[in-house]
Amino acid sequence: MSETKPLYSKRPEWSDVVPVEQYEIVNPVAPIFYSEQYKDATNYFRAITKMGEKSPRVLELTESIIRQNPAHYTAWQYRYETLCATNASLADELKLMDEIAIKHLKTYQVWHHRRLLLTTLRKPKPELEFIKKVLHEDTKNYHTWSYRQWLLAHFGADGASINKDGEEEYDLADLWEGELDFVDSMLNQDVRNNSAWHHRFFVVWGCGIREGEQDRERVFKRELIYVKQNISLAPNNPSAWNYLRGILKSTKTPLSSVSTFVLPYTRPRDPTASRDIVDLENPPPSEGADLPSVQAVEFLADILEEKGSESDINQAVELWKSLATELDTIRRKYWEHRIRDAHLKLKASK
């Protein structure tokens, strides 16, 4: 905070402005002793907005307010209007924002302001680096991840790199190029980061198909191997299991296609199983993994229900019972619902 700077009411360059006090005082008896500095700045801000002044000193004033209260959306909004009105350098503004964003990652306005700047600046590639750096501070920050998704969707779409004059402003392929490696590095840091798994889905399945990714069969196989390997490292990771479900669903592949892979995760460890044979399609649970995995048991029950014969359903019911009474008791009522539901369906099919 700018502790060393004098109050606006003491600065000669602001002497032409009459500050506007907060007129709302709910309890006039209570003395106002909230920060003198914040009060001073917002008094001048109220005056400025009333006058409609848009000048360099307004940028200084709004910066001071934002640093004290980054959620002050009117100050952000007025700042952006002032930037545009004074033809200020948006590149400089972005540099300033690099510093402010890192301090206030959880504030909506920080990200929206960036988005406005980028829409005009149209230089998406360095942003990806910036986001990577910021995610280092807070690996699951919702705003940061959705900003990255916006950036890729907005600037990464077909034709998005061509400006009004028909010139190519940045390399489209280059923008996407590092995305899978980036997700991979995030997951290497924390394989349970759901935001990173979601982002992988967004990149591979959710936002268009790019050069080198057209062979969907190959992409599907690659993703299957990738997610299975990660499940093998941490068999109780719901995000990875969800990703597996997601890619099967989006390619309309039956759950049973991965039965062989799922099975060893649904049982206590088999001490006799050899780990010498490397089977990429079916990597076994890592040593020391906590088995059985709840998500695997759940998955196997879904496979059985999907198959649908009476004996399959009966086996599924047994699995749901073990979830309800032993493995996942907090969701007992949900598993009981699945049992009831399966019985009803079985009855109806007879």
């Binding site: 907060q22 007129y23 709302e24 005082i25 709910v26 309890n27 209570a30 003395p31 106002i32 909230y34 920060s35 914040y38 009060k39 917002t42 109220r46 004290q68 209260n69 959620a71 002050h72 959306y73 009117t74 909004q77 952006y80 909506y108 306005q109 929206h112 406005l116 699951k140 919702y142 991840w145 959705s146 998704q149 916006w150 890729l152 969707a153 980061n193 759901n194 935001s195 979601h198 982002h199 889905f201 967004f202 399945w205 959710g206 936002c207 719901p238 995000s239 969800n242 990703y243 479900r245 997601g246 890619i247 669903k249 989006s250 907090i330 969701r331 007992r332 009522k333 949900y334 619902h337």
Partner: protein, 309 residues
């Protein structure tokens, strides 16, 4: 009481700290009543941008606890009306600020609960709300242009409360929600964003109001919501995140719409919510041991209410 007592010199307190096994409704009522009185705090001024929302949260919590009379009706309506932004035709969060969708919904909700909707120019408010719909179908919070399914919900809910849904481009609105649907059955804040319990509530809430629950994959989403409960009873907003009292509302209300509240372990969740109460000063925090605030107080009380309802 808690305001005057500081530390006792003997180190022993004369007043008894109540147990958090039950909802400490009287204390919460006092806590909410006292909120408006600490206007000298810096925090009070730093949260001016949420003032009207905070009044809505506090008043709704009071209504749920059957104590709607604990705040002065005329003062409240007067404050709401002073938040009217005549240039924009909507409500700001604070007198002198700019109109925003979040505060506009809060204003409408407060006025309806206070039976004072006749104080507003419905036609102008509806025009303001509709003006914030983006070409994609999502809504912006204000003219500054931030987009989020939160704002879409605010718009749909407000229009419905003002009996003006027929003026909304519903196809476009629903299409945006369809585009926000993720592989896990949940919804995010914008197209492409990760599923998040609070966004699931706003998207499902909007679809329910619009009569378009066919868009929702109810089994998958119900499962995803049930998955939010952690062994300690609390609910989180995304996989592998910490539990937080506010998700009691976001998750439960979405499950209530799906008619699946029964999938939650109610006893454990209630115990978790109650353990986050401040047994001295009142109010509920995000999790046990943290400072209470009015937002989590409402969502704790509301969560408890959904479970008992």
């Amino acid at each position: 009481m808690a305001l005057t007592s500081t530390t006792s010199p003997q180190g022993s307190s004369s007043k008894e700290i109540p147990s958090t096994d039950t909802l400490l409704a009287d204390l919460h009522v006092q806590y909410i009543q006292n909120l408006g009185k600490s206007t000298s705090d810096l925090t009070y001024h730093l949260t001016a941008h949420l003032r009207l929302n905070a009044i809505y949260w506090g008043y709704t919590a009071l209504r749920i606890m059957g104590r709607g009379d604990a705040l002065d009706r005329d003062e409240m309506i007067d404050f709401v009306m002073r938040c009217w932004d005549d240039a924009e035709g909507g409500f700001a969060a604070h007198p002198g600020h700019d109109a925003h969708l979040l505060s506009t919904l809060s204003a409408i909700q407060i006025l309806i609960m206070q039976d004072a909707l006749d104080r507003i120019d419905v036609e102008r408010v509806v025009k303001f709300i509709l003006s914030l719909q983006a070409p994609s179908g999502v809504f912006m919070g204000d003219k500054w242009g931030e987009e989020d399914t939160r704002f879409l919900y605010c718009a749909v809910s407000a229009l419905s409360l003002l009996s003006s849904l027929h003026l909304l481009d519903q196809e476009r609105t629903v299409q945006y929600l369809i585009d926000c649907k993720n592989y896990d059955g949940g919804f995010g804040s914008v197209i492409g964003a990760e599923s998040h319990a609070a966004r699931v509530f706003v998207c499902v809430g909007a679809l329910a109001i619009l009569g378009r629950m066919d868009v929702v994959d109810e089994e998958t989403l119900g499962w995803w919501l049930a998955e939010r409960q952690l062994p300690n009873g609390g609910l989180n907003g995304r996989p592998e995140k910490l539990e937080d009292v506010c998700y009691s509302f976001w998750v439960l209300s979405a499950m209530a719409i799906l008619k699946k509240v029964g999938w939650i372990d109610e006893k454990k969740l209630v115990a978790f919510i109650l353990s986050a109460q401040d047994p001295e000063g009142g109010g509920i925090a995000d999790r046990p041991g943290d400072m209470p605030d009015v937002f989590h107080t409402l969502f704790g009380v509301a969560g408890e209410w959904i479970l008992c309802f």
